[in-house]
């Protein structure tokens, strides 16, 4: 690294951000930016990995071989997303094993939505439609994140997520054309997932402390409430096309705002989940920890073998 003075570097960094250009791993970047990005990318990676569990829960029971293949491929994609994202975090000096440790010890978060259980096969469809839909709303702007490796990972991820969302919606369409019991399953799943999906955009702007800095650094490009509104507006006609009712009596079009009004979100529930008291927090972390610990001897053996091979070479 050249001996440019730090204030100069900082100016260069800010200039890059201002011009909407990308920061690359080789570039100087402020420590705060590095930490923020590592945390953001790691939490995103953790979400992909933990997100494998609620959907993976239905792979062996999927009621048609075609749906089984679609679901298995989707969960595999989530593992893949986790992998790119950990790699992106590594370009900032993070270590994958360390991030995993932070996940299973509860020191780093993952998306709270995965602390709800999947209770029927309809949940697979609703997760595709609503949860992936909300994730896409959150993530599309991240394809323009100022951090290059993350932005590029997000482009690929968003493409795949859109595909998953369409598959989820298509499953629901098929189920709604099926039996009465299937329609009831879909409606029940929508009832359970709608509000948690709205919570995926995070607390209201007034209570979101990091938003300002993140927007200045262009690692975040819209406020939580903006994105939430966009998601609601998008979902209403989709629900109508499906023939399901969104479980919010206050939901209606506001001609003046040219947006849908919607009822108050139960932020207490959200806070309880953040505190670890969701329906599946303990289960998700215990599952991940067990997989990690059960795999320890395998990773050790691989390392021992690699060391032997090096010795032989």
């Amino acid at each position: 690294m050249t001996a440019t003075a730090e204030p100069d570097l900082e100016r260069l960094f800010e200039h890059t951000i201002e011009r909407d250009q990308r920061i690359e791993p080789r570039d100087w970047l402020p420590e705060g930016y590095r930490k923020t990005m590592i945390r953001q990318i790691a939490q995103h990676a953790h979400s992909e990995i933990i997100g494998m569990q609620p959907e993976g829960n239905w792979i062996t029971r999927a009621p048609s071989l075609r749906r089984k293949a679609i679901l298995l491929a989707k969960v595999q994609d989530e593992a893949g997303h986790g992998l790119y994202l950990y790699s992106a975090a590594e370009t900032l000096g993070a270590d994958r094993a360390d991030l995993t440790e932070k996940l299973i010890s509860g020191r780093q978060k993952y998306s709270s939505i995965f602390n709800y259980p999947t209770l029927t096969f309809a949940d697979v469809g609703v997760i595709g439609w609503l949860v992936d839909g909300a994730a896409i709303c959150n993530q599309v702007p991240l394809c323009r994140s100022s951090y290059g490796p993350y932005a590029r990972a997000m482009i690929r991820i968003c493409k795949e997520e859109s595909f998953h969302q369409r598959q989820g919606y298509e499953l629901l369409m098929t189920m709604m054309r099926g039996t009465e019991a299937q329609r009831a399953m879909v409606q029940d799943a929508v009832n359970r997932w709608w509000w948690p999906s709205l919570m995926m955009f995070g607390p209201p702007d007034a209570e979101s402390p990091n938003t300002a800095q993140s927007m200045a650094w262009k690692v975040k490009r819209h406020t939580n409430d903006e994105l939430r509104q966009r998601f609601v507006d998008m979902s209403v006609p989709q629900a109508k096309a499906l023939g399901v009712t969104l479980p919010d009596p206050e939901l209606k079009w506001n001609e003046e705002r040219q947006h849908h009004n919607f009822g108050p979100i139960d932020w207490d529930e959200f806070k309880q989940i953040l505190k670890g008291n969701g329906p599946c927090n303990a289960q998700r972390i215990a599952h991940r920890r067990k997989a990690h610990e059960d795999g320890a001897w395998v990773r050790e053996a691989a390392a021992a073998y690699a060391a032997k091979q090096e010795g032989r070479a």
Partner: protein, 254 residues
Amino acid sequence: GADLAAYCLMLGDDALIMSHRLQQWCSHAPELEDELAIANIALDLLGQARLLLARAGKADGSERSEDSYAFFREERDFRNVRMVELVNGDFAATMARLLTFSVWRLALLQRLESSRDPVLAAIAAKGVKEVTYHREYAANWVVRLGDGTELSHQRMQAGFDAVWPLYDELFVVHPVERRLAGIAADSDGLRSEVDDVLTQVLTAATLTRPEDSAGKVVGLVSGMAGRDGVHTEDMGYLLAELQSVARAHPEATW
């Protein structure tokens, strides 16, 4: 005819049930790279199963769908070898079975590429590419674990010891296969071909072929085994899970 359908079910059920066991690894693998690889193998086998079950429904003129076979058959009508249905065990046991299964299936599919039945030949050609990769993946792990630490060596050996009692069954030529000469994969020399590959991998992995130590066999029931629809006690639980949603909604479309 009926024989061709039965034969398609044999190969299809092997893939379907093996895929199911691999699906159960989802979110439990030792590394993310293995999540991806195992899901991939499970997907390939699921794809093979779908083609073969669909082919069975054409072959006997019943027009039964792949889903009808997968979700609405009784255990007694599944024709997979018993090796694929055993509960997974640890990662070493999973790799021991995957290697054994893949080496066998690859040899089988390679022979099937020259089947007189063009559909089977095409399915086999596609499968050969896929299973070649499965074999490589499993062999890599067998060698790394066999020649890794003392613990991993023990577990890898135990994995083979557990799978080996079901090895003989892979090479029993079923009357259906005999009647399908020219269509079914030729079984001549199959065992020695599989034996050779396995011996190579086991040697590289510093492992012992189990028959040289234990030599036990999971015997037949009144002369019957998996190909005759007589399975192990693990199979019922597997099918209960596999079929639960489909059977709860027999009138549904998905």
